[in-house]
Subunit: 320 residues, 2 copies
DNA sequence: CTGAAGACTGCAATCAGTTGCAGTAAACAA
DNA sequence: TTGTTTACTGCAACTGATTGCAGTCTTCAG
């Protein structure tokens, strides 16, 4: 039905191996022959069958990308950049989300493993041990999770958290809440650790929470009860949910309580009050992860974060 | 290196064809043999090589999904649902975005075509002719584009546009702007056509526009000049951009001008003022498209839309 | 007791490319 | 003139699974 290498070989009077070589190792075939074969291939509209190729070579030119939540705008930007990077190098990108579920994550890795050259794992929730085990059968790049010996791209969230806290302290806040993300999240742990080390700031930890708007709304009551004037949330969605929930309780943001998010997503940038947030280089991370995978380099890359101050933070009341 | 059907066959004392059948046609093999083979396969951690399978069968169990913009939240929900639907049936999903570029769209279709069993094309910008041509070599499901003879899932945007306009009319608005989307967009055309048929409402068309926040900001000036009290925008992002732009010009929403979007995205739902918008069933569309593709049914499916009234619309000034 | 049907199972060709090896011809060196 | 190198090109085995066909063994009817 579809045109194969054999059809092209026949139509151009050469052996199949020559046709194969004009595509996969052009320098090995005579220039004249090559142009003839290419012309015939073009005319017959020949396209190599990737299944056959990868059967023989063991390489697929496919990459898998697994994220906790496809609908989270942070991951959308990451995916967009990753896809563009993959495409530039003639790779195709599978995507899947785990719904924050570690066992689904493992399932997906196993399902992908025979069909890709590598997997970009974003914010994996599996244990170190499980990941190390799995990395024996398929190559990984981890995004926002640091494990010795595995290739990683991480964002410096600890730095971001410190700067965010300094911003709050600078405004005069003394007692703040840290609203953490999902239990298995490495970044959430990093932020928590970084905040714990900051002197002179009284930080209460509220979490774990699902990293969604709903999670934020649910956490708002506990924030209100905690007697804090500032909040650092695990991500923008959670921050927005907290603001929604707080305002429903009659607490004004930033009048009564200041709120800072993480991500610098479009949703947060457009929200009112415009969200003060720690910018995370999602696109750069997606691009780098794919490039590292394709070059099959192993490296630990750290990407910088920075604070974007907008309208959801202000001095605490009575500081006038 | 990796364990094949042959290893399993050898270890369980049967021929490879029997192992093959225990996986792809279990009813053809003796129950006892089957359990033994499955046990051995499990123990050796055997996983079928999809490349080999698809080489022989011609089916890949992969689906391609092409959207204009991966970062647009409307498509994020669609992708999430599509991925879940695919996964339920042991299919994997490739994604790619065209950046609103028709020629890139064609490139992607061609690149995918040898590697998938079908492609879900969301809001394609290619011409009918080009799409019909391409549909000869790979099967499609079109989302939000109606072409005779091709399988489609469309949302009833015309109905949504009418209801939105009635809402504005009901509030007392008489002169409104229709801010359209990209030039090649079928839905944008549908909305425009539907609005043109509404009697007693003076509608000026502003467009085409890139369907992004930036596009909306850019269009805001023309909206302000048009002397309208109401706006219907092609999507939520555009609507939000318009509001941003309008407010920068000192025009209050909804005080001076009411704005309605399309999509009911999270971004719009969370925005302040909370966006009045036409809800589009993105998830349902993604799910249906994938299901239609896998069942390889051809059908034209219409999904309902409805208006969600929030805070970005109000009576025009002077109606008190 | 024979024949036929049914239930498995094995054999081997096949899918569409890739690649190590060998063969050929021309170019070049001695 | 002969030997050697270089540049292609062809041959055929190989990748891992699928599947039509044929063979074996029971089982059961007549």
């Amino acid at each position: 039905m579809s045109v194969t290498i054999r059809d092209v070989a026949h139509a151009s009077g050469v052996h199949v191996s020559t046709v194969s070589r004009t595509f996969s190792a052009p320098h090995l075939v005579n220039a004249e022959t090559r142009t003839r074969v290419l012309a015939v291939a073009e005319e017959l509209d020949y396209r190599p069958n990737r299944a056959a190729r990868s059967l023989k070579t063991g390489r697929t030119n496919n990459i898998g990308l697994i994220v906790p939540d496809l609908a989270n705008p942070f991951f959308s930007s990451l995916i967009k950049a990753a896809q563009a990077a993959a495409r530039r190098q003639d790779y195709h990108l599978f995507v899947a989300d785990t719904d924050e579920n570690p066992s689904e994550e493992e399932e997906l890795i196993l399902a992908f493993s025979k069909q890709v050259d590598g997997i970009v794992l974003c914010g994996p929730r599996l244990s170190n041990k499980a990941l190390e085990k799995l990395s024996e059968s398929v190559s990984f790049v981890l995004v926002n999770r640091l494990i010795r010996g595995l290739t990683t791209v991480v964002m410096d969230v600890a730095h971001g958290a410190r700067v965010a806290m300094e911003h709050l302290a600078g405004l005069g806040h003394r007692r703040v809440a840290l609203v953490t993300g999902p239990a298995g999240s490495w970044t959430s742990g990093e932020i928590r650790r970084a905040v714990a080390e900051i002197p002179g700031l009284d930080a209460v930890v509220i979490g774990p929470n699902p990293p969604t708007e709903e999670g934020g709304i649910a956490a708002a009551a506990r924030v209100a009860e905690a007697g804090v004037t500032g909040v650092l949330a695990y991500n923008d969605l959670l921050a927005i949910g907290i603001i929604e929930g707080l305002e429903a309780l009659g607490v004004d943001v930033p009048g009564d309580v200041s709120v800072i998010g993480f991500d610098d997503s479009a949703t947060g940038r457009l929200y009112r009050p415009k969200l003060t947030t720690v910018a995370m280089p999602a696109g750069a991370a997606g691009r780098m992860a794919v490039d590292l995978l394709i070059q099959s380099m192993s490296a630990a890359t750290v990407l910088e974060t920075h604070l974007v101050v907008r309208d959801s933070t202000a001095p605490p009341k009575g500081t006038a």
